[in-house]
Chain length 558, copies 2
């Protein structure tokens, strides 16, 4: 029976590299403020909604600005939403800065996500506790949760918790939604003159929380490297056994940054990009045709193997699927009340549904394999809606490609064999031990969050930039959350939200992929990244993603 | 577009550590021979079948024996069966020894497995070629295949290929079956006085090719570490999100060494061991009960999460499933000729089948979830038999546990929630970049194979022992393949085979697991191994499996 693995033990002692301006320690940090900011869009709406925190300047920590206010204070920290590698290091960095500023400062961790602060469930950190979690993966230090902080009642309870613990600042580690809510909380607390500040930290393996100010959210680096390790291993297996096509679904519903980065790291034969599917209004049939043609072309050349990457959210980006599913949701709500439908066998249900859907939708529905039809009927959410995330898109494509290939074979267009393996990678990467990059970046984000608190700021996102350079050259500072916001429709209502970064089809990352994919489809250009390394040469251990490297070279988007 | 990943580039330059006696180079190696050997069982049958290669002594390389014969020679090498990390290093070690002995020696690699030597498909290795594959995963250097070398015609063609290329020795890198066939080929070539030697190398990630002479087959170390990385990450995710039970099927059909090693590395809540299921004649129901009880006990304590490891071959070890499937195979052979059955819907087919199976088998069949019944009917091999390997055992258990938990809930015995995630890991580990251990071990096995050839031996397995010690203390030598053989029934006939090593329920590895599993079920004792490391402290990078460490402490089995 073991307590810790050898690597775990070793990593506890790793000293993360701090961003340049933070390196000399919290007591030496000085702050410089830029000009007033606006919102990325819908500025007047955002200003109205966030009148107390709107328009603040971007701030940078450097050697020439004003000193921080290091008076004694207590801080609370919350992990919000899905796990991402490095969350523990954000907390460690925050803790170290806080204790370095004043050993009487206390850091409280709220348990199980945002509900922890509402319900006053917490732990108080000390060295012994923190030291057990340094440079480790997961969010198990205090747990995470998906409760959204947005109601007046939640805010009141949050305030009560802060007062009881004498907390004057809250750090919320989360994705775009959690940081939107962090900003709402900051606004509310400031409007009430509570003196309680709120600082966000950009987390998500999906990589869709980024903009001119935030180069990347933490966790993306480690998660994509972990998936790339697995894809590379599978490619090597495919290329050795030469008998399987591996269809790999990758986590990430709303953007395909993960798929794109993993594709650039591994150079698979096929990688579908949801944003491209949507932009080109591709039909399911045309996607199946594309995949089947690559399989056929390789098969006809004697290569009955390959690897295809599929983004988890693909189906929601196919316009006709989206429309069909909406129609299906409405239809099922009616049909379910009909006991003869409810008791019918699946094959009969499919016929009834096809006869009642709008004809275009019926065509799409009927084209789906039985297994997927069954999933559409079975896995429904509490509101009765089809749960698109539960659809096994990788198997859907395999089945449809198989049918297409059989047709091509009968037409003499395909002479190969098609044997498949389906995979889904997501949970394997969300809690991996953070890479050196994520360990350093997160520690800096946390340390920096305390600097922002000490500068008296609220409604800011902790920001560390220039990330493709060595840590000593990283630029630390803060960005007003309102600056990244615009208004979007959610559940029928206009809401302020942090703009999600989708893959830009005219950006350098997609362009790099686009320029190569045809070659990767035909030729075996597989790259094998191998496991994340922590101790070796800097080239192997400290370099961040290809996405960041390509984006760092493009001119700023204004 | 990239050629090689940073880690790949770096690993090409790694210099594998050679086993002690090999370290001073092929020209300094000396050989000592032990006593004549027998077979592990059925000695007279084995002796009759292998009269020319039977009974040879175990040999050891050391400093005091006789010198080798390093006259010029050509050698051929074959990769046989499923991929295992380190195969390329066996070839690199063989090549380096061969060229160090005499630069006029040539090494030929046969393409696509054993069929390559039969059909004379080959490459000739040179430095530039070999150097591209050093310390890399996969078998793509020459490809692998599953053709069995066993017929007279194949042997004749093999001989013709060897004559044409002036090859006087063949190295076959494979598992138990491939090495059995290697021995048959050695016997045939010796009986014909061809002067062509055959040497085997012990390969398989399954870890079931081991005995008193062979401590472990290569690839087991890297593959189990790769799976353990993933399981550890998933455990950390489960323990952070606290809402999913992850059921993970692990590759390995005939033995559960992989599952057991991964369990010892990660300490999951549940790990099923096929050999125990068989020994205790457990029913599917009793296995489901065991799993459901662990889930319920944790759920009742507020822990609605966990990780369960399931060996790929489980179903074949459940006596009642085995019996039912045999009955089903016979039944389906008859039913399929009946067009009314063939055209019936699945639910009706299930009823017909249940009515025609023997009553005990019908009970087992009827207890299975619809999805699994469908798999039993759909995925049949060319002989019409159910393909047990295609059954999604992890989903079978999930569905049955779900039903059991619902029943327990209705009885007031279970108050938790059960949300599941299913995984299957296999292809992710078979072609991983070899760990330092596998890189060193394989390189030594290959180097050693050439030493055995130079000692004039045939029908031997390359052997490197004392593997839990630093490489300088490893003991290199060779073991007659016949020594590991006995007679077993295969397809109704008695055949000579290398005895497969199953998990020993009275051995130290299972005992260690057994002593802890109850605690692991209840308490969260998760260990997080993290990614394989190549450059760090020796404790992190060079230590082999827990299985080997535990087995090295037990007295020899003799």
């Amino acid at each position: 029976m073991r307590e810790l693995s050898p690597l775990h033990k070793e990593r506890l002692g790793y000293k993360p590299k701090l961003a340049g301006a933070l390196k000399s320690g919290i007591k030496s940090i000085k702050i410089s403020k830029g000009h007033a900011t606006s919102a990325v869009k819908d500025a007047s709406d955002i200003q109205n909604l966030f009148s107390h925190v709107y328009g603040e300047p971007i701030v940078t920590f450097d050697e020439s600005g004003s000193p921080l206010n290091l008076s004694t204070r207590n801080v609370g920290v919350i992990l919000s939403g899905g796990q991402a590698p490095g969350g523990h290091n954000v907390i460690a960095g925050l803790y170290d800065a806080l204790k370095a500023a004043d050993s009487n400062n206390e850091l409280y961790g709220f348990l199980g996500g945002p509900s922890g602060i509402v319900d006053s469930q917490y732990v108080k950190f000390d060295d012994e506790f923190i030291n057990k979690y340094r440079n480790t993966g997961g969010f198990d230090i205090i747990g995470s949760g998906r409760t959204k902080l947005e109601t007046e009642e939640q805010f009141e309870k949050t305030l009560a918790t802060c007062k009881a613990l004498n907390i004057s600042a809250i750090v919320i580690i989360g994705g775009d939604d959690s940081n939107t809510n962090a900003c709402m909380l900051a606004e509310w607390l400031k409007a009430k003159n509570t003196g309680i500040q709120v600082i966000g930290c950009p987390k998500t393996i999906d990589g869709d929380l980024k903009n001119d100010q935030i180069e990347i959210s933490f966790g993306f680096d480690t998660a994509t490297k972990t998936y790339a390790e697995l894809i590379g291993n599978i490619q090597r297996d495919a290329n050795s056994a030469k008998k399987y096509w591996h269809f790999v679904k990758l986590m990430g519903r709303s953007a395909t940054h993960v798929g794109l980065e993993v594709a650039l790291q591994t150079q698979p034969n096929i990688c579908l990009i949801s944003e491209e599917v949507e932009a080109k209004k591709q039909s399911l049939e045309s996607i199946v045709d594309y995949v089947a043609n690559v399989v056929a072309e390789r098969g006809n050349a004697g290569k009955n193997f390959g690897v295809a990457l599929i983004p988890e959210g693909l189906i929601e980006f196919i316009p006709e699927m989206k429309t069909m599913i909406q129609n299906l949701n409405d239809l099922l709500a009616v049909l379910e009340k009909d006991s003869s439908f409810a008791n019918a066998q699946n094959v009969d249900k499919y016929q009834i549904i096809a006869s009642k859907l709008a004809s275009e939708n019926a065509k799409v529905f009927s084209s789906l394999p039985g297994m997927i039809k069954a999933q559409l009927l079975m896995d429904r959410d509490p509101h009765g809606n089809v749960q698109v995330s539960k659809i096994e898109t990788e198997k859907l494509l395999i089945e449809m490609v198989r049918v297409k290939l059989a047709q091509m074979k009968s037409e003499g267009k395909y002479t190969g064999k098609f044997s498949d393996q389906a995979h889904f990678f997501g949970y394997e990467g969300r809690c991996a031990m953070p890479s050196n990059f994520d360990a350093d970046y997160c520690y800096s984000l946390g340390y920096n969050a305390f600097a922002l608190i000490s500068a008296g700021l609220t409604g800011y996102l902790s920001s560390v930039k220039n990330l493709t350079k060595p840590a000593a050259e990283w630029v630390a500072g803060g960005v007003p959350l309102t600056m990244m916001m615009n208004m979007e429709k959610r559940h029928g209502k206009m809401k302020p939200v942090i703009q999600k970064a989708l893959v830009e089809l005219d950006g350098p990352v997609f362009k790099e992929f686009e320029a190569n994919r045809e070659k990767w489809a035909k030729t075996d250009c597989y790259v094998f990244p191998g496991a994340i390394q922590y101790f070796g040469p800097s080239d192997v251990c400290d370099i961040t993603t290809i996405t960041l490297q390509l984006e760092s070279k493009k001119p700023a988007r204004v």
